[in-house]
Assembly symmetry: C2
Homo-oligomer: 316 residues x 2
């Protein structure tokens, strides 16, 4: 299928076309630009939720419950489960099939695991692009769930309108969240597995951390038990309150800031691609010279930049 017919299919809500477009975005090839251009005028209607937190915190189950909540209101939803890339082999370990079996047959729920097949820039770029595919296809809500809490994951949820950070009861989780830079990105905190001991202590600890942090709008803290559904309505209400609390200007400003970051990232990726396509031989030679200590890495990088420029300008 051509990119044009995939775009037409996605706009008509065809699931196969949606899946293929997201694969295309993951690959990050030359068709991404034209596809994004074609989809872009159709975007802007979806509201996006980011779900992040430590591995094992219960993010997938919570996402499944939130999808159920959104569906109960009759809205359509697209879910992107973003896995960090495996640096050598690539690819997500858990397939889409084991995820969210309760929604597997619902035509208004589109679920997709995403892995970046390459470098760091890939993840933070591919996610907003995949979100745009779902947005253009008319999904009312987009939920982006990350696997971990590294920098790349934090950056991914930064592309969402409301970011939910999932913690568990137990001493130290709030400290870890602060260390991972999550206090600043959370719009709503969830303390999941709230049937365990230590929920009050976790809430208190988190509230203290937030008190010390420079964050202006203090996020709500909602206890949940995702496995039973307890607290999901309260969480949804908190998400809606966060959505309502943002003025149109706030939202526009946040969107412009994200768009600027995306444009910059695309420009940097174009540069990286240029380096990799045209300068591989030069880079190998430079690395050998640096290893032999005939050159230092900075001088080598300056030579590499120069080589890219002259390649770009073409032979003279």
């Amino acid at each position: 299928l051509s990119a044009d017919s995939l775009v037409a299919g996605a706009l008509a809500g065809d699931r196969r076309a949606l899946g293929r477009l997201i694969s295309l975005v993951e690959d990050g090839g030359p068709e991404v630009g034209p596809v994004m251009r074609a989809l872009y005028p159709h975007t802007g209607g979806a509201y996006s939720l980011g779900i992040t937190g430590a591995p094992g915190a219960g993010k997938s189950t919570l996402t499944e419950r939130l999808v159920g909540r959104v569906r109960a209101d009759g809205h359509s939803v697209g879910v992107l489960a973003v896995d960090p890339s495996s640096p050598l082999s690539g690819g997500a370990l858990l397939g889409d099939r084991v995820r969210m079996q309760s929604h597997a047959t619902d035509p208004d729920v589109f679920i997709r695991s995403m892995a970046t097949r390459g470098h760091l820039g890939g993840m933070s770029l591919a996610t907003p692009e995949a979100m745009r595919v779902l947005d253009a296809a008319g999904k009312d809500y987009i939920v982006v769930e990350t696997v971990g809490v590294g920098q790349a994951e934090v950056k991914v949820t930064d592309a969402c309108d409301t970011t939910v950070v999932v913690l568990n009861p137990g001493w130290g989780d709030a400290v870890q969240a602060a260390k991972a830079g999550l206090l600043e990105v959370a719009d709503v905190f969830v303390i999941n597995k709230a049937d365990r001991k230590g929920v009050r202590a976790a809430e208190r600890e988190l509230a203290q951390m937030l008190e010390l942090s420079p964050v202006e709008r203090k996020p709500e803290i909602i206890p949940t038990v995702a496995t039973t559904g307890e607290g999901i309505d309260a969480l949804w209400a908190a998400i809606e309150r966060h959505r309502a609390a943002q003025s149109d200007e706030d939202m526009a400003l946040a969107r412009r800031r994200r768009i600027a970051a995306e444009i910059r990232d695309i420009a940097i990726e174009r540069y990286r691609a240029r380096l990799e396509e045209r300068c591989a031989g030069i880079l190998d030679r430079l690395a050998e010279e640096v290893e032999a200590r005939e050159l230092d890495p900075y001088e080598a990088a300056a030579q590499l930049s120069g080589a890219t420029e002259s390649h770009r300008r073409g032979p003279r």
Copy 2:
């Protein structure tokens, strides 16, 4: 103090100079290039260990024990505790003072927390540079401990000669490790907190995962109890075996690969800096046009790239 005298101080082993050079590297300013050039001829003597794993796995305590082990052999050691940046406020939450108090007064142990003060590229670049500072200062070993297990952290430990991945007993930890792409980067696995239940199960699960993975050299799996020191000698022996098992050619190849990645990253950072310094106004205007849907992000990025190029070539 000038950069020259800081370099002279660091080469003479002055701790204050070392600390100031690492701060300089964290800031990533224009002095980094000249400093790296001056230090580079003095590097190549240190052996580097990366310690990574989930938050709370016991990495800090394990690092403290490994430092004790290295010191018992009479070797000097530099420790870099790499924290992911807090996307808004920046900075490491835990200071150096609370870390590794047992080595705080040892002049042959240099401990430093590092935070990137900015973007993703910063972390993966700043760490090898800080390692080079410690290497030039004559440290026999360099230990790089990460806070989390995100992509950026995995990339950081990729700069080390031997990478140790720390897990805990408990179902799912090996699965999480696989999801985070840790199977491929681990040279040695540690199952820390091995006084808890589930050590054998964790070992078995990990061994099965490794069996399924395409990794050629299967890493050893060492149970430890970092809080008591149990298993630390066995871990050290496994690290030494990994070191001995690499041929000179393997090591040279791995180093060249890392150097090539570093040169490429420096070139990309130079490009990013150029974008941010010279094109901020253009970027704001482009973001507004994209938000108004007069332009799509790809076309905007192409215009931004063009603007960078013409800035670089100067006014015509």
